[in-house]
């Protein structure tokens, strides 16, 4: 019962942010680049949440930020899951020598900070939303790969995999029929965690000027800009943070809940 409550809470929180992001594609209270408002206006009828230094509508910026947060989270997680998942699968199946080498390489990649990767990608492709996603996704893939490797090895040791082999099931089919379905519940929960970390990582990349270019500011950038005006216009600093927390917590609850509902072994009683 409590699981249901958490799942529903997760759906509501994520739907809220995703809804905002979708709406922002068609409609925002003001155009993204509009600077016609006054400097740091408080909330009012015209600007519902007030404006920033340049007179941009805060609600508009938050809505666009939602779009970026969702894009960064989904994009980075998708990239990390694919690249990391494939690398982890390879290591999981590899012979000992290859496995050791891959594991050492993963250790090194994990030791390198995301920041360095981000600088590399930005230097190669220019600062953009895509670059941020690629950088975060690549950094994430090392962590995903490490986890995948362990999970894959565990599944491969199960009797049902041996049985599949004795029935002449091909390796690719074993991967899609047994390995992936059995690792995804754990992966999903971890990827949800990574989703949150990706959105937070984008915030610090934006902080260092490596995020998407203006006027499409992410929440991280909003937070950073508003940090200097937190005394005069606190909403600007609080609102993006709250949305960030809403999204990250929502995604985690959603993933936990989905696992519980979608995983047959957790449904009903034991």
């Amino acid at each position: 019962m409590r699981r249901r409550v958490f799942l529903i809470a997760g759906i509501v929180l994520v739907a809220l942010v995703v809804g905002i992001a979708l709406v922002s594609l068609f409609w925002t209270p003001f155009p993204a680049a509009d600077t016609t408002g006054g400097r740091l206006e408080g909330p009012g009828a015209h600007h519902l949440l007030g404006t920033d230094k340049l007179g941009r509508d805060l609600l508009t910026r938050l809505m666009i930020g939602a779009r970026i947060a969702v894009a960064v989270g989904l994009g980075a997680v998708a990239l990390g899951a694919v690249v990391g998942g494939v690398a982890g699968l390879l290591a999981g199946f590899a012979n000992r020598w290859l496995d050791d080498t891959l594991a050492a390489l993963l250790d090194i990649l994990i030791a390198f900070p995301t920041l360095l990767l981000a600088m590399l990608v930005v230097a190669a492709r220019g600062a953009s939303l895509g670059s941020a996603i690629v950088a975060i996704g690549l950094a994430m893939s090392a962590i995903v790969a490490r986890l995948t490797r362990v999970l894959v090895k565990r599944v491969l040791a199960m009797d049902y995999v041996t049985l599949a082999r004795t029935s002449g099931v091909s390796w690719p089919r074993i991967v899609t029929a047994h390995v992936l379905p059995n690792i995804w519940p754990t992966m999903a929960v971890n990827l949800a965690l990574q989703f949150g970390l990706a959105v937070l990582a984008e915030a610090s990349l934006s902080y260092l000027g490596l995020g998407p270019p203006p006027p499409n500011a992410s929440w991280g950038r909003l937070l950073q800009e508003a940090q200097s005006t937190v005394l005069t216009a606190p909403i600007g600093a609080i609102a993006p943070g709250v949305l960030l927390v809403v999204l990250v917590v929502g995604v985690n609850l959603l993933a936990d809940g989905l696992r519980d509902v979608a995983d047959p072994t957790r449904r009903g009683h034991r």
């Binding site: 199960m158 009797d159 049902y160 041996t162 049985l163 599949a164 082999r165 004795t166 029935s167 002449g168 099931v169 091909s170 089919r173 029929a177 047994h178 379905p181 059995n182 995983d263 047959p264 072994t265 449904r267 009903g268 034991r270």
Partner: protein, 246 residues
Amino acid sequence: MILEARDVGFRYPSGAPVLDGVSFGVTPGRSVALVGESAAGKTTLLRLLLGLRRPTSGSVLFQDAPLPTGHRAARDFRRHVQTVFQDPYSSLDPRQKVSRIVAEPLRALGFTDHAPRVSAALSAVGLPVDAADRYPHEFSGGQRQRIAIARAIAVEPTVLLADEPVSALDVTTKVRIIDLLAELRATRGLTLVLVSHDLAAVASLCDETVVLERGRVVEQGPTGAVLGSPQDAYTRRLIASIPRLP
């Protein structure tokens, strides 16, 4: 001989020899038991017979030819030889419905009529039709073992290799599964290779018995002869250990 081990020796890459000069064979329609205490190498031998591992020395023959290699060539072998394992929990993928589990070898071996074969196999092992739509965790240990057997017989194999298929079950269930296997043997002419240390099961199911001790065959012959007048000290000890009803 449909399946035969000829002077087979084996060691795992990271260990001491497990099998040493093992020879035995099974003719179509007969059943052979491999008995021996834990770590004697029964499961390992089974793996070799299944072609999951290659013997370090000697050879394994299927229909008097070496085990085929390669995916295509092995298909015929796989169609003829199916397996049931001891642990009814880890041998069923917890995230697949029973229908998919049973259909897996059908799909892999190129059968097209999945649905009728799945329900035929399920009813052959005495499971209700609606079992197909459920997940393994919704079944008891005995029922799971039936699912595993249904999976093995769905492709109508000629040989069934079973690794301790009843050891994890309680007495009542054990008897039911033994009956089921006996029935399948009778109705389908199934050749059975049974790995077990449970001599009651062996006595109920197998024509011949091979006794393994630490990777060597110490005794083999008709089950009645091996159990009735054991020659080897280990076999005698094994028989003496069996608890009997008062």
